[in-house]
């Protein structure tokens, strides 16, 4: 296990590389997730407003 | 009027308009000289050292001066509506663009050529290398205008498109820089330069054929 982490002396280079890889993956997973959440929130809000207006139009 | 006469008229018009604002013309030129002159000041002005960096420095200076000059290519015509008029004429837009680019080169690129020998002097570039420097500028500066035109056309509608223009255009300038400066460097070392110059020539031919098309498309989009 120690050898594995040590990576033949190249530990910082190898592990930081994989760390950056992880960062890129995480950031690019987060972006669409956030975009989707925003859109759904906005769309739902608009829909609710529309329905409220439709109801108020029928006396 | 016939296409050829229209082309000539547009070229003449642009050159005359530019010549009326001689001050504006001088700016990129002075910038070119200043940038190159700054390098020795920022380092050890040892003649041998200067000679070795001369090709790259002069060419980077030319790139930056060209970038500075690009702004004026479509700006005034865009501002006063003349550009829109050009889009409405029956003449093929890419050819009109070629006329404007040619005019632009005559007033901004050609002067760089005239000043280059002075810069060669400042950086101790001599002999065969100076000839190759001028040749590379003859082939390269039209390339800078042609490629740059695409970038200007894409950003002409923006208020502060200047820095973005540089970002768009500089990567496209890299091959010109590599082969032009490479040719001069080779000339200094006494090696063959035909390969590099041939490549520049090929790039120029490609740019003359394709760049006006891209520029015209970009203009139509920007003026939508």
């Amino acid at each position: 296990m120690g050898d594995f982490l040590h990576m033949g002396g190249y530990a910082p280079y190898v592990w930081v590389s994989y760390l950056f890889g992880l960062i890129v993956v995480v950031v690019n997973l987060w972006q669409p997730w956030r975009a989707e959440r925003e859109v759904w929130r906005q769309l739902k809000r608009r829909r609710r407003n529309e329905e409220r207006m439709n109801e108020s139009e029928t006396p | 009027m016939s296409l050829a006469r229209a082309w000539g008229a547009l070229l003449r018009r642009d050159v005359l308009l530019a010549l009326r604002q001689r001050g504006q013309l001088a700016n990129p030129l002075l910038f070119f000289v200043m940038v190159v002159a700054l390098f020795p000041l920022g380092m050890n002005p040892d003649p041998v050292l200067l000679r070795s960096i001369a090709p790259g420095v002069i060419w980077v200076g030319a790139l930056l001066a060209a970038l500075l000059a690009l702004e004026s290519m479509f700006r005034s015509d865009f501002d006063d509506g003349a550009l829109e008029q050009m889009l409405l004429t029956p003449y093929p837009l890419p050819l009109l663009v070629l006329a404007k680019v040619a005019a632009h080169w005559l007033v901004t690129g050609l002067p760089l050529l005239l000043v280059a020998p002075l810069l060669a002097l400042l950086l101790n570039l001599e002999g065969e290398a100076v000839v190759i420097l001028l040749t590379s500028l003859v082939l390269g500066t039209p390339l800078l205008s042609l490629i740059g035109a695409i970038g200007v056309a894409l950003t002409v509608g923006l208020r502060r498109g200047g820095v973005l223009l540089s970002l768009l255009v500089l990567p496209l300038y890299v091959p010109v820089l590599i082969f032009a400066a490479g040719a001069v460097g080779n000339a200094q070392a006494g090696m063959a330069v035909t390969g590099q110059l041939a490549f520049l020539g090929a790039l120029l031919a490609l740019a003359v054929a394709l760049a006006p098309l891209a520029t015209a498309a970009a203009l139509r989009i920007s003026l939508d």
Partner: protein, 251 residues
């Protein structure tokens, strides 16, 4: 003749099939990525010259490959957008750009980290890294142009032209940088590629390359779909979609 293409690219249709594709791509990417990581870190040999640092290759090479692949996708989508006037293609291109820039950045960083133990410096002007750097500028320029133009459709079309100009220039740039690099090659010759690569090393490399490609497809499609919903918010099919969502409880 192009009717099927237009149908495929119609917003509602696109939303449908892209969702399925994104889901498959996502799971595929996860599985292949897990397998790739396993082989990369546990079940592949160290290089006889570079030792364990060769494992960086399993991140660097897929990132570099992907940075080029994504730009090609942007160019292709730009072509479709300009020729067939498909908004969906615009959205996919715009969605792809940030991801492409990130992977280009990753390729540069891992290239640098790979190079430090090998050549002793954090940066070296070799053909591969220099080309990647210029590619990063191409991406940033593309993204910059998209955000600088306010009118969305104009921005998309201008960016499309830029992407096509860029894609024509990429081979020229690569060739120039290659030439320049071999001209100035000193005593240190960079050898990222070996003439023939052992299967034990090729396997994780291919797995990681495939996994990251599928990852890109999933992310780009999801971003494009979100943008599509925003744009088509007033259409019937989106309304029905929202009603369906709200009926089935909140997400």
């Amino acid at each position: 003749m192009w009717a099927w293409l237009h149908r495929l690219g119609s917003p509602k249709r696109f939303y449908g099939w892209s969702g399925t594709l994104a889901r498959w791509a996502g799971w595929g990417s996860l599985l292949l990525g897990a397998a790739g990581l396993y082989y990369a870190l546990f079940d592949s040999p160290p290089d006889y010259q570079q030792g364990e640092s060769v494992r960086i290759m399993y991140v660097h090479v897929p990132a570099a490959w992907l940075s080029m692949f994504i730009y090609m996708n942007i160019a292709f989508a730009s072509l479709i957008s300009l020729v067939w006037r498909m908004k969906v293609a615009d959205m996919f291109a715009a969605a792809s750009a940030p991801i492409g820039a990130w992977f280009t950045f990753l390729a540069l960083v891992t290239g640098s980290l790979w190079g430090k133990p090998m050549w002793g410096t954090w940066w070296i002007w070799d053909a591969r890294l220099t080309s990647e750097l210029i590619l990063l500028f191409l991406y940033l320029g593309y993204i910059g142009l998209l955000s600088a133009i306010e009118e969305r459709d104009t921005a998309a079309r201008a960016a499309a032209v830029l992407a096509l100009v860029g894609v024509v220039n990429i081979p020229i740039i690569h060739y120039s940088v290659e030439w320049w690099s071999t001209l100035h090659q000193g005593a240190t010759v960079t050898k990222f590629e070996k003439p023939s690569i052992a299967w034990t090393m090729l396997r994780p490399l291919l797995l990681m390359a495939l996994a990251s490609t599928l990852f890109y497809i999933m992310v780009a499609l999801r971003l494009a779909r979100a943008e599509l919903l925003r744009r088509e918010a007033d259409s019937t099919w989106v309304r029905e979609l929202i009603d369906g969502r709200q009926g089935g409880g909140d997400r």
